[in-house]
């Protein structure tokens, strides 16, 4: 028995299969004039709270649905369903991010002809969700002022990929050592053109610019 050593050139992207589903999703949504946003943050940054508040403000402007990515529980989906939001739960059974195929299947279960906007709440984690394209129009980085100012420098991929940053819990600023100018500077250093919308669920500050930004995403989709 003889053994011959050979080198096999592969050049295969590890995200290839995922990206294929993502492009299917893009085509599906584009044909129907639907915009899709992918909310990414650490656990507890305020994504679900932001969506709860968005629901009431958006109701008169756009028809929308939420896809809730969660590792194990359905709490967040229940919170939104209670407000009358059309919401589908995506359980990742342990995975730390949503993949394009799962999202695509969930979209097919939605009444797409009656929707303008789909907002995906990704699994709470700043690393993996930024890696996986799910066919969204824009990634939204959600960052709360209870986290470090330097999160953008620590997780550059997300802040490079995102189209907007929503800085949450700004009502807490007076009680925290968090430096807002420093945080904004770090965001600019990673991605100079990235807009930042500052919001608070308590004072409702910033909700109008946020909802306007959502509406603009939909307009650019149909325009």
């Amino acid at each position: 028995m003889t053994a011959k050593k050979i080198k096999i050139k592969v050049y295969r992207d590890l995200m290839g299969a995922n990206d294929l589903w993502a492009s299917k999703t893009r085509a599906l949504l584009k044909a129907r004039g639907i915009a899709m946003l992918n909310l990414i943050s650490s656990p507890g940054s305020g994504k679900t709270t932001l969506l709860e508040q968005t629901a009431a403000l958006l109701a008169t402007r756009l028809r929308f649905a939420v896809l809730e990515g969660d590792v194990a529980t359905t709490h967040d989906a229940e919170r939104l369903a209670r407000l009358g939001v059309r919401v589908s739960q995506l359980l990742t059974s342990g995975a730390c991010h949503l993949e394009a195929k799962l999202v695509h299947r969930a979209l097919l279960d939605l009444p797409l002809d009656a929707l303008d906007l789909v907002i995906v709440e990704n699994v709470g984690n700043l690393v993996c969700p930024a890696e996986f394209d799910i066919g969204e129009n824009a990634k939204v980085a959600v960052l709360s002022v209870t986290e470090g100012e330097d999160k953008p420098l620590k997780y550059p991929l997300l802040f490079r990929e995102a189209k907007v940053v929503v800085l949450t819990k700004i009502d807490l600023l007076p009680h925290l050592p968090f430096s807002l100018p420093k945080c904004l500077e770090y965001i600019r250093k990673v991605n100079a053109a990235l807009p930042v919308i500052q919001v608070s669920a308590i004072t409702r500050n910033g909700m109008t610019p946020w909802v306007d930004w959502l509406a603009a995403q939909h307009r650019s989709r149909i325009g």
Partner: protein
Amino acid sequence: MHEVSICENLVTTVLKELAQGGKGAWRLKKTRLVVGLLHQIVPESLTFAYEVLTKDTPAKGSVLEIRLVPIVARCRVCGWKGEIHDSLFVCGACSGGDLETIAGKELFVESLEVEEHDG
């Protein structure tokens, strides 16, 4: 966690390639992976995940070789091109921030080294 999900894709890709050699004909010695630094992968974690995930597969016993690619960006304003360090996407010439990432996002299997057995 990050490394494990990436490694799952890696092992699926490798096994698919190996199967092309025909049943049991190729014995995998080495997998060469190219990873851009923007992925913030810890090579040791990826190597460990690779060992665990290939254990009961035809890729068992093979070595994972990781080539890290630095982050390189190009300034859309003045054309400067250079490496990015510490997440600072700032032009080295005009100090502007309108930069396009041209390297550092790679994540692909470059090649496999196999032993072919006949007889």
